[in-house]
């Protein structure tokens, strides 16, 4: 039989009056057992149990309140409601009596709780807030029909329609895919935005009501029946129409096509993935027009083959599991393959993936989860340490107050009341700590302001909303319970016979094993955090020192997407030449070059070439950077041998080899020690492409990842690029930030309808380490606090021990023991604690490091030297914490100490 949830049971056991406790618990237990007989109802039984427990406590409390109003005197050992008031007052008095204790405890708790609150509010802001306007978000899932998870190969519209009609696992499903739109209203220049192409009832599936207007209907998305409509979000409504309420029915031009605005989404909506900046939605039926598709492409977009719906969002039918949905969709796909064997050949390699939940892009989910887990783990360690410290302090108090408690028991107070008072005191501390913690959280958040994580937007004004407050309350109460347990036990066990007949000095070494284990745990946790922080900082420093291979200062990149304005591949060479000439004619630009991939910004191409030395049959994988003359020079990537790319290399005539430049790494990989200049490289393809003729070797440079090896890179003249994307790098004479208007001017002279994106490259390089930098900062901050708290804890227990054993030391010294002997006694005690803590801490750090390597790119496993160094540092700190108690021990004056008894 399944046991009911622990926490409500404890609450009931704690607060219900003795008289009915047994019966209420047994009744609840019995009914809970009946309810859980069926596995499907486990959750509802669980909720039922909680509800009944709370309702039972509530009615007990109300009864007490009635009784008080009717004038029935509160019964000792009775119920909690009347006692609560009294306990709270008692606790306030007790805390007031020891202001230093109370303040230190409050601050310690506030640090732990504040750190947790800060991190939680970040997580809440980044990930937990429900998507604006979406209803029933927990039933939604992302469906992907792909070769691999996250590839989003997609399926065609007819296949999607067949699948959507045949399936029964989902209440509804809709497709979507990304699109670049260049959108303009009547008087503004075009602006490039991110949009989504939707198929089926996208907004209906999300359960979304438009802010104004209507959504895109499923009928409007049917391929082959174009409907020229667009739904825009709040931000775009503001930019294009200044929030004009009469926007419905107005037109915008998107990629030169006139579209009618039919709806505005609720404020803050950016598509099914948070913070992705999608601002408009258009029906699938107009995709060919928006892409200025040639008849062939249009056929591919609309026909049964090819991919156009890349991902789907679907609402699971209640009670249907994701696995069952996967099976069903796979079955339908298999049928479609049999039904249309020619058109649907490609479905053979497609698999169905159903990812429950929306909000985080599929490919980011694992990393997001790992990062969040790491951050929460770190702060919960800090909370444990601070709770342990407060627990430690209370334990001392508990031991001191045993005699008081014993006296009160002797006078007739029940054990529950004494524990209750202790509990009330701790809960007051916890609540106070929680309130202060909110302030601390604000401070932590201010320190992290402007940081970035997981490629999401910078943290700005992260709110403390009700979810955060609920979390803080839960954490405060949880930590309160945590640090109450041990002292409450001690005080609760106070026995008049024992505790009133002995003086407190009888408590010797055996008595405080509880405190010792708390101290050991503290040392272990803080050492683990310290090692983690050092690991991460070292990684960050290493990455920052990595040679970029190019000079990023004063350089900037632009990207222009020419396709939306109707440019086809054939028109690109002329456009490229015009753009480069225009950029070079600007006086503010020192030099410029074209390249497909802008370093630390966009992705690039890769290719496979045959081994030119025929050492093996395996092709060599190589990254390809399409570049013009001026690219290497602008980024100051040195030419080591031969020459760089030149204008005459741009257009190789048909049949002639293409002149290329290899990076050093590529030259080494392909040609070993041989001179590559004048050698040929061939693509590993069945259809023979042009041969490539090596004219030069350049220095290595990194295009994206600092933690990886320099890429095996080949520079190929830009006009061999199949892309309609136009991108360039340039070096400013003064500073990169000033280049944006210059570029607008230059581009305007080529084609004023082309919008562009602009980035300073140095900024991107710095941003590529944003995760590492933020986490390193957090870990450093938190591990520093942890070490401090652990040192305080160690100091506390040692000085307490010295105080307790004062009498013993006195006798030893009276019998001739030397001060060094006494110091050794204390030192041994301390060394034992520290050693145990360090050993456990190393184990903890190993565990933490495995989590770190999975969460943060570029972190390598910690070395033995690091463990040793961190442990030594810790021993040093621990020694300092030991000095004062040891000195105190040696200063014990036998004549005074012994006379006291």
């Amino acid at each position: 039989m399944r046991r009911p949830p622990l926490f409500p049971r404890l609450l009931l056991g704690w607060f219900l009056p003795l008289r009915d406790r047994e019966f209420i618990l047994a009744d609840l237990h019995e009914e809970y057992a009946q309810r859980t007989r069926d596995d499907a109802h486990r959750t509802s039984a669980y909720i039922w149990y909680w509800r009944q427990s709370l309702a039972s406590l509530w009615s007990e409390g109300r009864y007490k309140l009635d009784e008080a109003q009717l004038g029935v005197p509160g019964q000792p050992g009775g119920s909690w409601f009347g006692a609560l008031h009294q306990d709270t007052r008692h606790a306030l008095r007790a805390l007031n009596r020891r202001p230093v204790f109370s303040i230190v405890a409050l601050l310690t708790l506030a640090l732990g709780i504040g750190a947790n609150t800060a991190i939680f509010s970040l997580v809440n802001w980044l990930l937990l807030r429900p998507l604006p306007g979406v209803t029933g978000q927990q039933e939604l899932a992302i469906v992907e029909i792909s070769r691999e998870v996250g590839q989003s190969n997609g399926i065609s519209w007819p296949n999607f329609a067949d699948v959507a009609n045949a399936q029964r696992s989902f209440v509804s499903m809709a497709g979507y895919g990304g699109a670049d739109l260049q959108i303009q209203s009547d008087h503004a220049p075009p602006e490039g935005i991110r949009a989504q192409i939707v198929g089926g009832d996208y907004f209906g599936t999300l359960g979304m009501r438009m802010q104004i207007g209507r959504p895109i209907n499923a009928a409007e998305t049917v391929a082959g029946r174009p409907a020229h409509v667009v739904v825009i979000n709040d931000a775009l409504w503001q930019r294009l129409f200044q929030r004009d309420r009469n926007v419905i029915g107005k037109t915008v031009r998107a990629n030169k096509i006139v579209l009618t605005v039919v709806g505005v989404t609720p404020s803050g909506f950016e598509g099914v993935e948070r913070n992705q900046g999608v601002e408009a939605w258009v029906p699938l039926s107009i995709e060919p027009e928006l892409r200025h598709a040639s008849p062939g492409l249009a056929e591919r977009l609309n026909g049964r083959r090819g991919g156009s719906i890349r991902e789907m969002v679907a609402r699971l039918r209640p009670g249907v599991r994701a696995e069952a949905a996967v099976e069903e969709l796979q079955r339908i796909l298999d049928q479609l393959r049999v039904q249309y064997p020619n058109e649907n050949k490609n479905l053979a390699q497609r698999h169905v993936f159903v990812h429950p939940g929306i909000g985080v892009p599929i490919l980011m989910r694992e990393r997001t989860f790992n990062t969040v887990r790491l951050m929460l783990l770190v702060v919960s360690m800090l909370l444990l340490i601070s709770s342990a410290n407060v627990g430690n302090m209370l334990l001392v108090r508990g031991l001191q107050e045993r005699s008081v408690a014993a006296l009160r028991r002797a006078l007739g107070a029940s054990r529950n009341r004494i524990i209750g008072q202790q509990l009330a005191e701790c809960m007051l501390l916890a609540l106070g700590g929680g309130l202060l913690g909110l302030l601390v959280a604000r401070a932590f958040l201010a320190l992290m302001e402007g940081g970035q994580l997981l490629g999401l937007p910078e943290f700005r004004n992260v709110p403390l909303d009700w979810r955060v407050l609920a979390f803080t309350a839960a954490v405060s109460l949880g930590s309160g319970l945590l640090f109450t347990l041990a002292p409450a036990r001690i005080v609760g066990r106070a026995d008049p016979l024992v505790d009133l007949s002995t003086s407190s000095t009888r408590h010797t070494a055996g008595r405080y094993w509880g405190r010792k284990s708390i101290t050991v745990a503290q040392i272990a946790l803080s050492l683990a955090l310290l090692i983690g922080a050092v690991m991460l900082t070292r990684t960050l420093i290493n990455l920052q020192r990595t040679e970029l291979g190019f000079d990023a200062e004063r350089t900037a990149g632009i990207i222009v997407n020419a396709e939306p304005q109707g440019y086809q591949s054939a028109a690109m060479p002329a456009l490229r030449a015009a753009l480069l000439a225009a950029l070079r004619s600007q006086p503010e630009i020192e030099s410029a070059g074209l390249a497909h991939q802008i370093p630390f910004w966009t992705g690039g191409f890769s290719d496979r070439v045959r081994d030119p030395l025929a050492r093996s049959d395996q092709p060599v994988s190589i990254d390809v950077q399409f570049a013009s003359d001026g690219y290497l020079e602008t980024l100051r990537i040195p030419i080591i041998r031969g020459r760089g790319l030149q204008p005459r290399d741009w257009n190789a005539s048909q049949g002639n080899p293409v002149n290329v430049v290899l990076s050093e790494q590529a030259a080494r990989t392909l040609f070993g020690d041989r001179d590559p200049i004048g050698q040929y490289v061939d693509q590993d393809r069945r259809t023979a492409g042009p041969r490539m003729f090596v004219v030069g070797v350049s220095g290595d440079s990194r295009l994206g990842q600092l933690h990886e090896e320099a890429p095996v890179l080949m520079y190929v003249p830009i006009n061999n690029s199949p892309s309609t994307q136009l991108s360039a790098v340039m070096r400013a004479r003064t500073s990169a930030a000033e280049l944006e208007p210059v570029i607008r001017r230059a581009l305007g002279s080529v084609d004023p309808t082309l919008p562009f994106q602009f980035h300073a490259i140095a900024h991107n390089v710095r941003n590529s380490l944003a995760d590492q930098r933020l986490l390193a900062r957090l870990l450093a901050m938190f591990s520093g606090l942890a070490v401090l708290l652990a040192a305080i804890g160690l100091y506390g227990i040692l000085s307490y021990m010295v105080d307790e054993r004062r009498r013993e030391f006195g006798i030893r010294m009276a019998l001739g023991a030397h001060a060094t002997g006494i110091a050794r006694l204390v030192g041994t005690e301390a060394a034992g604690l520290v050693l145990a803590g360090v050993l456990l801490g190393i184990l903890g750090a190993r565990w933490l490091s495995t989590i770190m390597t999975s969460a943060i790119t570029g972190v390598t496993a910690p070395s033995v030297a690091l463990f040793v160094a961190a442990s030594m540092l810790f021993v040093l700190i621990a020694t300092m914490a030991t000095i004062v108690p040891t000195l105190l021990a040696t200063r014990v004056e036998p004549s005074i100490t012994l006379r006291q008894d």
């Binding site: 009744d27 009615s59 009864y63």
Partner: protein, 138 residues
């Protein structure tokens, strides 16, 4: 009198002592509707009126869900006022033994219930049609 040093709650006479105190203070025969419902349920169940059965009976008949805490507190209060008497019996549930608290309507309770319900019935006499017309008219 060594036993005087014991906390009151642990005193063997604690239960009855408490009853006596309450009896003197909470006087009168008035019972509220919730208590009436409880008492009728106890009456209806006869020998089988233990806490869980009372709650189930009420839920089955009028659909009102009562937490065990509410039921036991109210029954305790009724017991303190002398309207019900309780006894504790050992039973087995499945393979496990457990104790149940059974309630029985006392003579005093029967009188109080009869009077309260009678009062209510007298006040309601002849008013139902009007009540219904108000509900339908709304």
């Amino acid at each position: 009198m060594a036993s005087r040093a014991l906390p009151l709650a642990a005193h063997p006479d604690y239960g009855s002592l408490r009853c006596r105190i309450s009896n003197y203070i909470v006087v009168g025969m008035h019972i509220g509707d919730f208590e009436q419902i409880l008492l009728f349920a106890v009456l209806r169940l006869g020998e089988q009126a233990h806490g869980a059965a009372v709650r189930q009976e009420i839920e089955r008949r009028i659909g009102r869900v009562i937490s065990p805490g509410a039921a036991y507190t109210a029954l305790d209060r009724l017991e303190e006022r002398g309207f019900v008497q309780s006894r504790i019996n050992e039973t087995t549930v499945g393979s496990q033994a457990r104790r149940r608290k059974y309630y029985r309507l006392s003579h005093q309770g029967a009188r109080a219930l009869s009077r309260s319900y009678g009062d209510l019935r007298d006040m309601a006499a002849g008013l139902l049609p009007r009540l219904n017309s108000l509900i339908e008219g709304a």
